[in-house]
Point group: C2
Chain length 271, copies 2
DNA sequence: CGTGCCAGGTGCCCT
DNA sequence: AGGGCACTTGGCACG
């Protein structure tokens, strides 16, 4: 139950390793010279090169080059991986339906095949989300404005669910749209749609106010807000979630060995 | 100039391998039992588990589990990777500025370290993009409507650049917004902003029309369009780019060995 | 650099 | 399954 690695395997041996690894529900990495062809929502093809193919037991396929966070080609979870030897090449084909999409990776040379038994947690609690921002406001509604009283979250309207709905100190309905980071015109439009939708649900003549809560706003967004009579309250998500345990890591300093960048000063022998 | 792999290395040996690999500008994979902590735009922590860490020479860091296309944690390109041995663990730290973000992966056990010399093309031409849709229309403007005459692409307005601008058969200005796939309310809002912005640049009384070209629209988007007096022309990007070479792969059939899914019928020994 | 916007966006939750 | 939306969105092109 450990890592299995083949060096410069024959295509046939690589194929066997792939099959065995998937039977065991392991993640597989393949490195070698390959071409990549994709056809589905769009289409693309990629000429020969040495790249890293990752095949996950959930059906995900990733082709990574030496750059970028985004894989150069991929297949989403739920796809079906198949492998075969064709025309002297190891062909790994990943297919899914709805929409129909196909990814073909053809190796003319396989340098390494590894089967990795992945375990442990796969989800993380992320702090600083829009949800944290909402909680922050529910804990202290005055952050929106003095006298603001929250009435409902995710309140349904004809234009969709409103992040936070309530009333101001004079009883006027207030639509609050929450954004965890600086926003552009799209957010202003979104808030505007909610306000307009709610205006129609409310007795004629009742003014519905709209408040965009976000750390900051671009100029264009500000203009749009002004145009629509909406306002902006500068407020960012809390640095730490109120519900999260204090996980501040301390005593982890030191001068580690630099391995990825030669631009900095020479390290003075610390490791 | 080939793959370098260490099995169950000591932390110290793993560290050496990392340093050497980065000197050579290679991509590094590390598999082993680790914890992951991230702090930056948001924050997260992940308990012990066996996961795959990918370090790219461009500063990208990816932590992958056995599920999902999206890494469970990551650091974007431009980050600086550092490694050190601390408290009996191999710590890989990836840091960037603007915004300040830090990713720590701490291995209590390293099962495998590989240095992979990645080469070859890293970009693909994707067909079926919005650009292809625009070209399709420029080749045959009647696809928008009979008599439509394109005047400019990316025409600037106070609300941003308009995908395609032109005039209808009666000389009225027309704003065309292109979307490569089915769209929701956001696209309708976007088009509405452009039409409104252009209406102000044009002599009083001149009607500016807005056309959303997309394969289809959601109900909510349709309502919004009707509300704003905008129209929808159902049109999808061409299946193949007109400029792209015909790369249809043929003669690649056969009955490959299934390795990723046990739900299908038993394969009859073809390979 | 920030602003705006497309993307094979991905992923989540709701109806 | 489809719609609506958040996301450490990522990535690019333009001011």
């Amino acid at each position: 139950m450990s890592v299995t690695t083949l060096h410069r395997p024959t295509h046939r041996d690589a194929l066997s390793a792939l099959s065995a690894a998937f039977e065991r529900g392991e993640l597989v990495t393949v490195f070698g010279r390959c071409t990549v062809d994709y056809d589905g929502r769009a289409a693309s093809s990629l000429g020969p090169g040495d790249r890293l193919l990752i095949l996950k037991p959930d059906g995900t396929a990733l082709v990574h080059t030496d750059e970028q966070r985004t894989p150069v080609n991929w297949q989403p979870p739920g796809s079906e991986h198949r492998a075969a030897v064709r025309d002297g090449r190891l062909r790994v084909r990943s297919v899914r339906g709805n929409p129909d999409e196909r990814l073909d990776v053809r190796f003319e040379r396989v340098d390494q095949v590894s089967a990795l038994p992945v375990t442990g947690g796969r989800s993380v609690d992320v702090y600083g989300s829009e949800e944290d921002l909402r909680q922050e406001i529910l804990d202290d509604p005055d952050l929106v404005e003095p006298g603001f009283e929250p009435a409902a979250t995710e309140r349904q309207t004809a234009a969709g669910p409103v992040d936070l709905f309530g009333h101001d100190d004079e009883g006027r309905p207030v639509v609050v749209e929450l954004k965890r980071r600086r926003v552009g015109p799209d957010a202003a439009g979104q808030l505007g749609r909610y306000v307009e939708a709610l205006s129609r649900e409310v007795p004629d003549g009742t003014e519905v106010r709209g408040v965009l809560v976000a750390p900051s706003v671009t100029d264009r967004a500000r203009e749009l807000l002004a145009e629509k009579g909406l306002s902006h309250v500068p407020l960012a998500p809390p640095a730490e979630s109120s519900t999260a345990a204090d996980t501040a890591a301390s005593g982890d300093g030191g001068e580690p060995t630099t391995v990825g960048d030669s631009s900095s000063e020479p390290e003075d022998g610390a490791d």
